[in-house]
Structures are given as structure tokens and as C-alpha cells.
């Protein structure tokens, strides 16, 4: 896995290559609520979603909720999981709380939902970078055997988001270190704290594919081949295209 990008026309930083290898390895392993096979299937479904006919019809509709049908899927994942993965991948800017509450009412637990969000996000981050560079997407990893841990933080409770989250003061031993010690965590860090392992994993990717948290606001020094201003212009333009206020 360490020579993940050995034959690319553009040299990719070693730390970034290693971060992608770690992310891929984590997707293959049993998670907190899904086993390795399901996690890899979620990643595969993330890749299929853009070619789903139902998703395309919904994307063009005034309201995606008005269009019924069945997603194009080749996986054994439950239909409710496929719905989450496809909506997240193809139309995230119109996700609403009513839709989320409906997903939970139809049997997906909040913890399972958060882990799906994380696996989709990991896959999107890595695949979108590959598209930007004109590279083939990485082959999906082989799932590893084992059972999910089913760990739920005892301190998780409803906060400002749709999903419950862990406030720093409520973080237990297992959650230690998921938040910075010298400042309050941004809501994006708390967003997936219902499944702490996913916060650790995703922010490992953030650190190497964007910037480490402690230097995001260190505008006096540059840490990448592009400047802070260039990075933030890209970030803001992408978020506007995705219709994401956050």
C-alpha cells in the first residue's frame, strides 16, 4: 500500500500517500458499527452512485423527495443504506433533517448512519483528488475479517446537529485525543463524534490532504505548494458549488 501512487505523472507527497494508505486500510477493517465487507461495499456504492438513474432524476427535480424509485445498485447492502450513500454522494446540498429523521425511523441507527457518512467522505476525498489529477481511482481494498466493536460514547447526547455528538467535557477515555487540547473543537470535528474512530480517521486525512489543525490559521507561513489564500479560495469555491454553507 505504500507505493499507492508509484506510477503517477505527478509526484504525490509521501505523507499524503501514506495517509491515503491508512484510510484505505481502515475502510477494509471492521469499524464500530459495520464490518469490513460492508464498509468496502459502502465505498463501492459511493463510486456507483453518480451513474444511478434515480439519482440523476432526483438531481434534476425541484424536490428530490418527490421522485420515487429504486437505486441502481450491485451491492448486497440494505436499500436504506444505498439510499443514504447515493444521496450523500450525488445531492448533499439538499439533504434535510426530515429526510434524516425518516432514515432513522426506517431502521438505520444514528451510529450506523454516522459511520456511513464517514466511509462515503473518505472515499469522496480520495476519489475526487484522483479525478483532479486524471488518475484511475485506487482499487478498493479487500475486506478484513472481524466484528464491529459497537462502541457508543456514553457522553454522546443531542447537541446542535441532527445527530448526537460528544462535547469535549463529556469525552471519555476512548474519545481522548479526538479534539484539540488548546481550543474548542469546530462543529465539523464534533459532527461524527458519535463514532470516535471515524473522527480520528477522517481528521488524519484532513491533516494531510488539507492542513493540520494547528496551522490552518498560521497565515504568516506557508505549509503547502499553494498558499493559504489559494487553499481557501479552492475550499470556498468547492463548498459554494456543493451549496454548503458550513
Amino acid at each position: 500500500m505504500t507505493d499507492l501512487y508509484a506510477s503517477t505523472p505527478f509526484p504525490i507527497r509521501d505523507d499524503l500517500t501514506a495517509a491515503h494508505a491508512r484510510a484505505w486500510a481502515r475502510i477494509a477493517r471492521p469499524g464500530t458499527w459495520w464490518d469490513g465487507a460492508a464498509r468496502v461495499a459502502i465505498a463501492a456504492e459511493t463510486r456507483l452512485a453518480p451513474s444511478c438513474a434515480l439519482c440523476r432524476r432526483r438531481k434534476e427535480a425541484l424536490s428530490p423527495l418527490a421522485i420515487e424509485g429504486t437505486h441502481d445498485s450491485h451491492s448486497q447492502l440494505p436499500e436504506i443504506v444505498v439510499e443514504v450513500v447515493h444521496r450523500l454522494r450525488t445531492d448533499p446540498g439538499r439533504l434535510g433533517e426530515r429526510w434524516y429523521r425518516g432514515i432513522v425511523a426506517h431502521g438505520l441507527t444514528e451510529e450506523q448512519y454516522v459511520e456511513i457518512v464517514s466511509v462515503v467522505a473518505h472515499t469522496v476525498a480520495i476519489d475526487t483528488m484522483a479525478r483532479g489529477l486524471g488518475l484511475e481511482v485506487l482499487p478498493l481494498p479487500d475486506p478484513k475479517p472481524g466484528s464491529p466493536s459497537h462502541y457508543r460514547p456514553t457522553g454522546a447526547k443531542p447537541g446542535g446537529a441532527w445527530v448526537p455528538w460528544v462535547e469535549p467535557a463529556d469525552a471519555g477515555e476512548v474519545e481522548a485525543g479526538i479534539y484539540p487540547r488548546d481550543r474548542l473543537p469546530a462543529n465539523i470535528m464534533k459532527a461524527m463524534s458519535l463514532v470516535p474512530a471515524e473522527v480520528r480517521s477522517f481528521f488524519d486525512l484532513v491533516t494531510h490532504q488539507y492542513l493540520p489543525g494547528e496551522v490552518m490559521r498560521d497565515f504568516a507561513r506557508e505549509y503547502r505548494a499553494i498558499s493559504h489564500a489559494q487553499i481557501e479560495l479552492l475550499a470556498a469555491r468547492v463548498s459554494a458549488l456543493n451549496r454548503c454553507l458550513y
Binding site: 457518512v117 476525498a125 446542535g160 446537529a161 488539507y210 489564500a229 479552492l234 459554494a240 451549496r243 454548503c244
Partner: protein, 116 residues
């Protein structure tokens, strides 16, 4: 918000309308036109436009710059999904600091609270 903060460090004012595509140029950020065109092409479906934008950005920034730009586009394409799927609100301090340009650019139309 970090774009504006970055500009203040160097006593520069960037035109934040570039973020929504409402400006004619990329707001004064060096190589901003190529960066914006690249981000739009990566998220779009026109492979020829993407190849053109990739080559233009590589010519302007070199391979390391292109790689870092592709990484940032990929990462924010993912972060946006985490934010939208979990329904996190903007922190009060960020909401206050960004109120002026959110209003000027009508960005609040993207707020999760308004979606069903």
C-alpha cells in the same frame, strides 16, 4: 472566512464574490482564475474541460501545486458532505464574523436549517 483572514495578514482584500462565481475574476488571489476553473472542472462532468484546467494549473503552479490543489478540492468535496449529512450549524462566532459577506453573497440560502 479563512480566505478573508488570510488576506488581512498581508493587508490584501480579496473579492469574496469569486467564491460564488459572481465575480468576473478570482478576487485577487494569485492564479485564482486557474484555481477556480480547476475546482469547477473537477466537480463537473466535462472531462475535456478538466484536462484543460489541469494543464493550465500545472503550468501556473507546477506539479506540487497541482497535487495540493487536487487534494484540497477532494477534501472539501468530502467535508461538505459530512457537514450537510450531520446537520451541523455554523458556530456562533463564525456566524457573527461572516454575517456581512453571507448577506452580501446570499449564502444563507445554503443553510441546512432551511432544508426539509
Amino acid at each position: 472566512m479563512l480566505l478573508r483572514a488570510s488576506g488581512r495578514t498581508y493587508d490584501r482584500t480579496y473579492d469574496l464574490a469569486a467564491v460564488t462565481g459572481a465575480a468576473d475574476s478570482a478576487g485577487g488571489v494569485p492564479e485564482g482564475d486557474q484555481l477556480v476553473a480547476f475546482a469547477e472542472a473537477v466537480l463537473g462532468e466535462d472531462d475535456a474541460a478538466l484536462a484543460w484546467a489541469r494543464n493550465a494549473l500545472a503550468a501556473a503552479l507546477g506539479s506540487p501545486g497541482l497535487v495540493d490543489a487536487a487534494g484540497v478540492v477532494g477534501l472539501f468535496n468530502a467535508i461538505d458532505r459530512v457537514a450537510d449529512a450531520t446537520g451541523i450549524p455554523l458556530e456562533p462566532e463564525k456566524a457573527a464574523a461572516s454575517a456581512d459577506f453571507r448577506a452580501a453573497l446570499d449564502l444563507d440560502r445554503f443553510a441546512v436549517a432551511d432544508r426539509i
